[in-house]
Amino acid sequence: MNKAEKSLYEIREMDDLAAGDSPVHRLWPLSKFFVTIAYIITVMSFHKYDLNGLFVYVLYPVVMFQLSGVPVRTFFRKMRIVLPLVIAVGVFNPVFDRDILLYVGKVGVSGGVVSMVTLILKGVFALMASFILVATTPIDDLCAALRMIRVPAVIVSLLLLTYRYIGVLTEEVAIMTNAYHLRAPGQKGIHISAWGSFLGQLLLRSMDRANELYASMQLRGFQGNFYYREGKKARFADILFLVLMIAVFVFLRFFPLAAWIGKLVVR
């Protein structure tokens, strides 16, 4: 598979996941959206040494993964893109922050190690939350939710149109890449002599495509408005989920649950 085919596969995979059915899929998209945002913000706000406070937050994605039936493996595959930068930044913490923060047994653990782990966990948690949101919400519903919170129509329409044509154009790139490599078997990428023409040809064709697309709009009475399916209506359970989850996140942000549970046992 070339890179374009891989990303086509990923788009379809997310599409299929979102088309599934589960209690999480059935939640009102806007509830899910705000809960996800609240989750990420609280996770982000933890102090770099507050590993225990942060760790409790693992429960939300874990429960959601289980309830929604979305495979965790798919998620881990997606982490490869953005996690390296997080690790690259975090990996220097143990070098610079050698202040010993705690001892486990006789081994001192420096602040840098704790803050590195915290940083990586933050990265994983935040990604998990947004992955669950997208993997359980079809793009149309997500966009309807964006419209409801007054994201400008231009952006939402553009998002949907772009999403529609990413599939079409990525497929063309996939085919072109295969065609190129069939005739240049020894090469790993596009040779410099074709740097301009490879994408350039596609670009020119795409401009014609855009004109035809615009013609299709005009011929069907386009007057500057897109009509997308209306957002779903919220049920009582959706509002309850929203309020409850945000309350829980805020509560856990200030109440050291891990320490409290620990004390029950330790004493």
Partner: protein, 241 residues
């Protein structure tokens, strides 16, 4: 219904693409527009739809194709693009089908009913909420036809409706075209499809009409077709025997 009177189309200062065309299509007529690549078929369609400026007179139901009349003209014409991906830009089949009727001011309930009618008629109901980027080529072509039928146009225009379809889907599209009770203008290289669906054929060559008449007369005329870089329809070519 559709009248072309001395119509010419010219891009920039180059050679005109359409030269002094005149013809008339009656209500209910089904006409095939044929010709080799570059003969001007697509240009003719675009001029009729008001997507290209032209000289001379083009009329649809007595309304002249002019800038201020375009909304009226386009309500009457339904154009099925050759490339369904370019035609259907909305996320799902349902949203694509509702695009035109909502733009023309129908209420949401009305539109829902119109969509269900068309989908039932074409036996496509299971496609309704499918994503346009996830349906097969054949389904896409049928859905594209559905997005046009739901507009209830007086004239249906089609550009290569059977191109790149497998035999099964090609047959399905032909059956649908035969069931239309409306005026229809089709461009195609698929002459067998034209034989199946149109009573009249207009043959274009280098921007001019070289022949205009009954399908079985023109498409049996081997000399005429070959002079214009075309071949007899497969069923009449005698190769099968």
């Amino acid at each position: 219904m559709i009248r072309f009177e001395n119509v010419s189309v010219q891009y920039d200062k180059s050679e005109p693409v359409l030269k002094d065309l005149s013809f008339h299509i009656q209500k209910g007529e089904k006409v095939g527009l044929i010709g080799a690549n570059g003969a001007g078929k697509t240009t003719l369609m675009n001029a009729l739809l008001g997507l290209l400026p032209h000289e001379g007179t083009i009329e649809v139901e007595g309304i002249e194709v002019e800038k201020q009349n375009l909304p009226e003209i386009r309500k009457r014409l339904g154009f099925v693009f050759q490339n369904s991906d370019n035609q259907m830009f909305m996320p799902t089949v349902y949203e694509d089908m509702s695009f035109a009727p909502l733009n023309y001011g129908h209420s949401k309930e009305q539109v829902d009913r119109m969509i269900d009618d068309v989908l039932e008629q074409l036996e496509l109901s299971e496609l309704k909420y499918r994503h346009n980027h996830r349906i097969s080529g054949g389904e896409k072509r049928m859905a594209a036809i559905a997005t046009i039928l739901v507009m209830r146009p007086h004239v249906i225009l089609m550009d290569e409706p059977t191109a790149s379809l497998d035999p099964y889907n090609r047959r399905k599209v032909i059956d649908v075209m035969r069931s239309f009770d409306r005026t229809m203008l089709v461009t195609s290289h698929d002459l067998d499809m034209i034989v199946d669906t149109c009573q009249r054929v207009i043959l274009l060559s280098r921007g001019r009409i070289v022949a205009d008449g009954k399908t079985d007369v023109i498409l049996h005329d081997k000399a005429l077709l070959e002079a214009n870089r075309m071949e007899l329809p497969f069923r009449w070519s005698g190769n099968r025997e």
